[in-house]
């Protein structure tokens, strides 16, 4: 009995959006990340977990076009032709990063312009992508502020007048307004109070589902991974030690390190 089914035959998306092959990054003698390979399909959310120093942020920076890996290839299929993001010209990579991709930084200050109004932060991305009609830009910005639960009355305030949780929601609006196909998030709820975190997580969960986004989320918080991701990669010392469906990896971990991580979580 042949039971190996190609997902294509089930009507699932044919080609991966991102194909990563043998990506490594070294800091001198030290390994940042080593020999990481995976495919990501449209609509899939991949979590990368591991303790501090395990290489997850280094990997994310390689994948997101920020740091060139020393070895390996990152292929992105946004249009028809797959694009090797580190062999194209710098300019083209930049353009890709602000149209087809979005990056949510752990610290909202890294992703926002702190001296530009909230509406401007969101509208700017639309203008980068060619929007010119002021009224429409403001209208779209307003719509997005409301989607991330920022009151319309705050549209002209600057991010430095916002709380940390609001800044993070504003950053998310700024990233998602240009309707990226792929979003990278580095500890999106790090540094926030638990109650603020819960609200942000629920917001992300709904947005990712409604927009059908593909996303790669780096987190050290296994509860965040369980809530937001479909698949999980566990990293230790720069290498992927275990990967699979999120609930499989968390509920039936096979690698010693994953067993250690999952058993170290305190339940409230």
């Amino acid at each position: 009995m042949n039971m190996q089914v190609n997902p294509q035959e089930l009507g699932l998306d044919p080609a991966p959006l991102l194909s990563v092959a043998g990506v490594s990054r070294f800091y001198g003698e030290r390994i940042g990340c080593a020999d990481v390979s995976f495919d990501l399909w449209p609509g899939e959310v991949l979590g990368i977990v591991g303790e501090s120093g395990s290489g997850k942020s280094t990997l994310l920076r390689c994948l997101a076009g920020i740091d060139k890996p020393d070895e390996g290839q990152v292929l992105f299929r946004g249009g028809t032709e797959p694009l090797d993001i580190y062999s194209v010209a710098e300019q083209e990579r930049r353009r890709l990063m602000c149209t087809a991709w979005g990056i949510v930084h752990q610290n909202p200050r890294d992703g926002l312009r702190m001296d530009v109004s909230a509406g401007g932060n969101v509208g700017e991305r639309l203008m980068d992508n060619g929007a010119r009609h002021y009224g429409k830009i403001r209208e779209t910005a307003l719509d997005w502020l409301q989607r991330v639960e920022i009151a319309a009355g705050r549209i002209d305030d600057r991010p430095r007048q916002f709380s940390g949780g609001m800044q993070q929601r504003l950053q998310i609006a700024r990233v998602l307004v240009s309707e990226p196909k792929l979003v990278f998030m580095d500890e999106p709820t790090g540094g926030l109070d638990v109650s603020v975190q819960a609200r942000l997580l629920d917001l992300l969960r709904v947005l990712v589902r409604d927009l059908g986004l593909a996303a790669i989320i780096v987190t050290h918080d296994l509860a965040v991974a369980r809530l937001l991701t479909d698949r999980l990669m566990v990293m230790k010392d720069g290498r992927v030690v275990e990967q699979g469906l999120t609930d499989q990896v968390l509920d039936d971990p096979h690698h010693a390190y994953t067993q250690l991580l999952t058993s170290a979580v305190l339940t409230v």
């Binding site: 039971m3 089914v5 997902p7 609200r199 997580l201 096979h254 067993q259």
Partner: protein, 232 residues
């Protein structure tokens, strides 16, 4: 009737790497099939591996060896070796899991939790709400709770939200782990009827029920897990 689940030579052993590499064999050489319209009840003492087997059928635990053919979209697919997005598609359209506990998501209301599987299958929001409300009412969850997030609900109330979510649109295969543990007799009977209705509509059921009356009302067949217990 159509075979919905076919289990072939499944074995499971846990290895606890951080506790001296202790190996815990659970079962070995498990073989059985379940057809549409059947309700197979797993029997065996506590610790025999009933829940582990149910989780393996769902693709949640990975068996040490063996294959499990799930009939999905008219074809048989091995859920053990399927890639993650195939497993997720199987769960979305074919395979439901009813656990003892509700995984509460902050801020999501009871009604939204119950509506969710309908929306995921493309039902219109209006129809999804109507059906979700009818199901919550049938399980006697007070209407004042429908628009609240279940974090503060009692165990029995949470369990009924969970059951409503699972039975609002029964899957072709339903895996059920102790759904009536904290319910009163009245609601227990509602659950028994829901299971029977799903089965009569052609769902294949595999379940674990500690309550003997529930077990007898639900089962069309029993499987004793102890028979597969690995000789340790």
């Amino acid at each position: 009737m159509t075979t919905m689940i076919h289990v072939e030579n499944v074995a499971k052993e846990f290895t606890l790497h951080n506790q001296g590499g202790v190996r815990l064999p659970v079962f070995d050489n498990v073989n059985f099939s379940v057809a549409a319209g059947e309700a197979l009840v797993l029997a065996g003492a506590s610790g025999a591996g009933k829940s582990s087997l149910l989780r393996i059928l769902y693709g949640n635990y990975r068996p040490t060896s063996g294959a499990i053919a799930i009939t999905h979209g008219g074809r048989q697919i091995d859920i053990v070796s399927a890639v993650p997005r195939t497993v997720l598609d199987i769960r979305r359209r074919t395979l439901g899991f009813v656990s003892q506990f509700l995984r509460v998501i902050p801020r999501v209301t009871a009604l939204d939790i119950v509506r969710d599987p309908l929306l995921a299958r493309g039902v219109s929001p209006e129809e999804a709400s109507e059906r979700a409300k009818a199901m919550l009412a049938r399980l006697n969850l007070p209407q004042r709770l429908w628009d609240l997030a279940p974090a503060t609900f009692s165990g029995g109330e949470q369990q009924r939200v969970n059951i409503a979510r699972s039975f609002v649109d029964p899957s072709p295969i339903m895996l059920i782990d102790e759904p009536t543990a904290s319910l009163d007799a009245n609601n227990r009977n509602v659950v028994v009827r829901l299971i029977a209705e799903a089965r009569e509509q052609g769902s294949a059921i595999v379940g674990i029920f500690h309550d003997e009356a529930v077990r007898e009302a639900v089962a069309t067949r029993y499987l004793d897990i102890t028979d597969f217990r690995k000789a340790a």
